[in-house]
Point group: C2
Chain length 144, copies 2
DNA sequence: TCGTTTTCTTGACTTAGTCGTGTTTTTGGG
DNA sequence: CCCAAAAACACGACTAAGTCAAGAAAACGA
């Protein structure tokens, strides 16, 4: 499986005008399976695959990939930034107040959803960031 | 003006079961005029009114007031937390990518807006946090 | 006014990153 | 295939925005 995937990851990088390095490929591979992971978690998984990579390299790569549109960064309040490889559909997120679990939600309002607020106060809006806060199924048992 | 307002702020605090202190009253007074301000900005304004107050006291008071539902905290990605006194209507926010300016938006979808995502994945949702990202009128001049 | 409880102060600590500087890798051209 | 330029990475110092802990001060009910 990994041959095809590595090829795809490399192509993705080249297509975005980025150099192909083992760290970046490993990041993309990891995010194929792990979703909504923090930079530290990515670092751990990447190191499992390719040995030592500095934390700063992880940050820089994640920033580069995010800027290139290959990854999407979400930053729920009170949580470190999380990354996912599902991009381009501007879906939203459910976040559990208790355990921090994150789930994807498709938008209710169409394909470029919620992008237009009722009155935009003169702002030129290009993205809507929607987070639904609540309790995930596992945390609904109501224990203090 | 300030007599009535101080009374009101004190009543608000007492009504929420919180002790009335000069720092808390000053915070509420400031947030009557200043909106979407950071903890540091609040600290500055509060100190103008009542002299020395420690930064930690500001943080603790803001947390207490937020927990009590008297203030609302918003935390746009890449910005420190901001506070506002407009609570209870679950309105949303426009944030400028360039200068960080924040503006209020009423919700388009009704009075308990966007609270229900299309599919909630079993989550018990109690709040929707919507941030529209874009450029404010002042930053639309397109200067690099 | 007194005592309890909450709040405030001071200061150390933590987390999640950014900023430089110098050293490796990639990679396209010869 | 080799080599220079550009990009990426390593290492370490630094920063912002808070939290945590222990003792002093202020609120408020009796």
């Amino acid at each position: 499986m990994s041959v095809t995937e590595k090829a795809t990851s490399a192509e993705q990088l080249r297509g975005a005008g980025l150099r192909v390095t083992s760290a970046r490929v490993a990041i993309l591979e990891c995010l194929r399976f792990a979703r909504h992971v923090t930079a530290e978690e990515v670092a751990g998984k990447v190191r499992e695959r390719v040995g030592h990579v500095s934390t700063q390299a992880i940050y820089e790569a994640l920033n580069a990939l995010t800027d290139a549109g290959i990854l999407r960064r979400i930053e729920p309040a009170g949580s470190p930034a999380r990354y996912e490889s599902r991009v381009g559909d501007n879906h939203h997120h459910l976040v559990c107040r208790q355990c921090g679990a994150v789930a994807d939600v498709d938008c209710a309002v169409g394909h470029a959803p919620c992008l237009e607020p009722a009155a935009n106060a003169g702002f030129q809006v290009d993205e809507a960031d929607v987070i639904y806060w609540g309790l995930c199924p596992d945390c609904q048992g109501g224990h203090p």
